[in-house]
């Protein structure tokens, strides 16, 4: 028997070494080679070029209403990048859905863990709100996404956006709340807004596509900054008058439609290569 162990001895050193290395590796950082690219999608919020400040009645619309923003929360989904080779690359992480709360800087930066091919990309596209197929009741049982839920009787799923505002014009003695909320719209048979007469729903989420110059040929990390220009929700081709919707937007498809037409132009994009 002794000769077995004798011959084994010659193995001991390499074995020890191997095991030692495998131990150390457990506790050290894995380094992925930079053959592929990765992106961080950042969300920033501006009013007429200036970084959005909350809770201060300092902004005004083209029709002369002053307003302040108290909360700004929204979903973007089906985010994808179009490469010069002619292919769309869908972001797979988190099903391509991201929730942003403009007050919470953590949620304004989405480090996408997908590895993208080393190519050049010429546009970024996404759906504002949840894609109709993904907008299903119960998808998010936990906050903060949960608190975006849209009542089942009004179509279910989730709000695309909750922008809570206060506004005031010269004839008003004090500011008044306005809930600029987007989500599934309803079609009412009688024209009377009564949930019993709903005959159809309108998803109201919409696609935005923006040109970019994103070069991942050398791999590495890059930032795609999606900038929401909040003022454009009100000052686009359809001026948005708060006074016109005293009972809110959730049950008013006309208001929602008007907002969406403007919404298609609210985002701009910047790349830091």
């Amino acid at each position: 028997m002794s000769h077995i162990f004798a011959s084994g001895k010659t193995f001991i050193l390499p074995i020890l070494l191997l095991v030692f290395i495998s131990c150390v590796k457990d506790h050290s950082l894995e380094i992925t080679p930079y053959t592929q690219g990765s992106i961080i999608i950042s969300y920033s919020h501006k009013v007429k070029g200036e970084t959005l400040k909350f809770d201060t009645l300092r902004y005004s619309t083209s029709t002369g209403n002053r307003y302040q923003v108290s909360d700004l929360q929204y979903f973007t989904s089906r985010i994808s990048l179009h490469s010069l080779k002619g292919k769309w690359h869908d972001i797979k992480m988190d099903d391509g859905i991201h929730y942003t709360d403009a007050r919470d800087s953590y949620s304004c930066s989405w480090w996408v863990k997908d590895l993208l091919p080393p190519e050049s990309f010429d546009s970024v596209a996404f759906i504002f709100g949840l894609d109709a197929l993904q907008n299903t009741t119960g998808r998010f049982p936990d906050p903060p996404e949960r608190d975006m839920f849209w009542p089942d009787i009004l179509g279910g799923g989730y709000h695309s956006m909750k922008m809570n505002l206060k506004w005031q014009n010269d004839t008003m003695p004090q500011s008044m709340p306005f809930m600029f909320h987007l989500g599934t719209g309803q079609v009412y048979a009688s024209g009377i807004v009564n949930p019993d007469s709903i005959i159809g729903y309108v998803p109201n989420s919409f696609r935005i596509s923006l040109p970019i110059g994103l070069d991942l040929t050398a791999g590495g990390y890059h930032q795609v900054i999606l900038e929401m220009n909040v003022d454009r929700w009100f000052d686009g081709q359809n001026a948005f008058e708060f006074a016109r919707y005293p009972s809110g937007m959730m049950q008013n498809q006309e208001a929602m439609f008007r907002a969406i037409r403007n919404g298609k132009k609210v985002f701009t994009v910047k790349i830091t290569n």
């Binding site: 077995i4 009741t137 119960g138 906050p143 008044m176």
Partner: protein
């Protein structure tokens, strides 16, 4: 012998022997580098898993250093109900959680409490609590802070104000509650026959510590789950609501109706609260030094409080942080026509423009009928939540 020799010296055998030796070495070394060898565990409490009801949030607010165990919960239940938690044995100076948090009232003291006039509790020395009570329902899902102003919260810079464990210490120390000190409490509990053994079973040490008292009570409080109201059963498709309740449901869930869901949840959030803080338009002057503003310092939070759960509303009168409304009807009259504007009113109170939601009397009745579908009688009769039939020394 010859045969044996030939096997041992064959290359095949050497290879097998090498593999064997190699694997044994790896096994020994890897196990030594992944975990330190521990002596045989002296005690093992039985892990307790919360069964998350359908539609409820998946994320539970359970601190990593206080996992739930069957023994911990059992001990916590004794302490929750044991008046000697006050650290004082005299019959006049007994106080525990259950002195104020009474199961029959969904763990508030109730508006008809014999000692706490109008439902406003006071501590052992007679000092009133700064606010009226909050029910203890589904607190394992509270994620933005406990108490009306959210003082006790995971993001509080002070580590001693982060979770239910810390509320226990506050209760023992606050002048408006036990007005005692934790060393007296732990000494008292440690002297009572039966407790050291229960502490051992729960935490592996029979020494009664402040930390383990808090841990056990917090574990018990986290089991207080309500998920069996009429509305829950409706969501599960087990029963139908009446016409009046359904009308109320629509009012609750629609912007042009009562619009309650933005703050109090609903079909997408069965907790019936977002657990967030709002100024819901009761006043224009704010004098309470303990509102949400006292925590955040932001002017937008003046007069703001946590939106409480609407579950078991029928048992939890009086209402609001200052108990100003004695009945559900008074609350509904307020939302209907009694709103008061202030610069910090929540932007979600958009009905302020008309002073309230302006429902007709029959709509109001429907909304109330719907609120009553949140009643969960099994919660207030569940024997697992009730006073134990005998204390450890009985």
């Amino acid at each position: 012998m010859k045969r044996e020799d030939s096997i041992f010296s064959s290359p095949g055998f050497r290879y097998v022997a090498f593999l064997l030796l190699f694997s044994i070495t790896i096994l020994i070394l890897t196990s030594s580098c992944t975990k330190k060898t521990e002596p045989a565990a002296p005690f093992r409490a039985t892990p307790y898993t919360i069964q998350i009801p359908l539609h409820f949030p998946q994320e539970l607010n359970i601190p990593a250093d206080n996992p739930m165990t069957v023994e911990g919960i059992a001990l916590g239940r004794f302490l929750f109900y044991d008046g000697r938690l006050s650290g004082r044995p005299g019959p006049d100076s007994l106080m525990s959680c259950a002195t104020c948090h009474i199961q029959a009232h969904s763990f508030v003291c109730g508006i008809d409490h014999p000692d706490f006039t109008g439902g406003h509790p006071h501590g052992l020395t007679g000092i009133q609590t700064s606010h009226f009570m909050l029910p203890m329902i589904n607190l394992v899902w509270t994620n933005h802070g406990y108490l009306w102003n959210g003082l006790v919260s995971a993001d509080n810079p002070q580590p001693a104000l982060r979770n239910i464990e810390d509320v226990v210490r506050l209760v023992i120390e606050l002048p408006s509650e036990i007005c005692g000190d934790t060393s007296r409490t732990k000494a008292m509990i440690g002297q009572i026959k039966g407790y050291p053994e229960l502490f051992y079973k729960a935490f592996g040490s029979s020494t009664v510590t402040e930390k383990n008292i808090a841990r056990a009570i917090a574990q018990f409080v986290r089991t207080l789950i309500s998920a069996d109201s009429k509305f829950d059963r409706y969501l599960l498709g087990k029963i139908q609501l009446s016409n009046s309740e359904l009308n109320g449901y629509v009012l609750f869930m629609t912007e042009q109706g009562g619009d309650c869901f933005h703050c109090h949840g609903g079909d997408g959030n069965p907790l019936f609260t977002t657990n967030l803080f709002y100024n819901n338009g009761k006043d224009s002057v704010f004098t309470d030094p303990f509102d949400r503003f006292s925590i955040t310092g932001s002017a937008a939070d003046l007069g703001a409080y946590k939106a409480p759960t609407l579950r078991n509303l029928v048992f939890t009168a009086p209402y609001m942080h200052d108990g100003r409304f004695k009945t559900i009807d008074e609350v509904l009259d307020f939302y209907n026509a009694g709103l008061v504007w202030s610069p910090s009113i929540s932007p979600l109170m958009h009905h302020i423009a008309t002073g309230g939601v302006r429902l007709t009397p029959s709509q109001k009745a429907d909304l109330k009928a719907f609120l009553l579908t949140f009643t969960d009688s099994t919660f207030i009769t569940n024997p697992a939540f009730s006073r134990p039939s005998a204390m450890p020394d009985e």
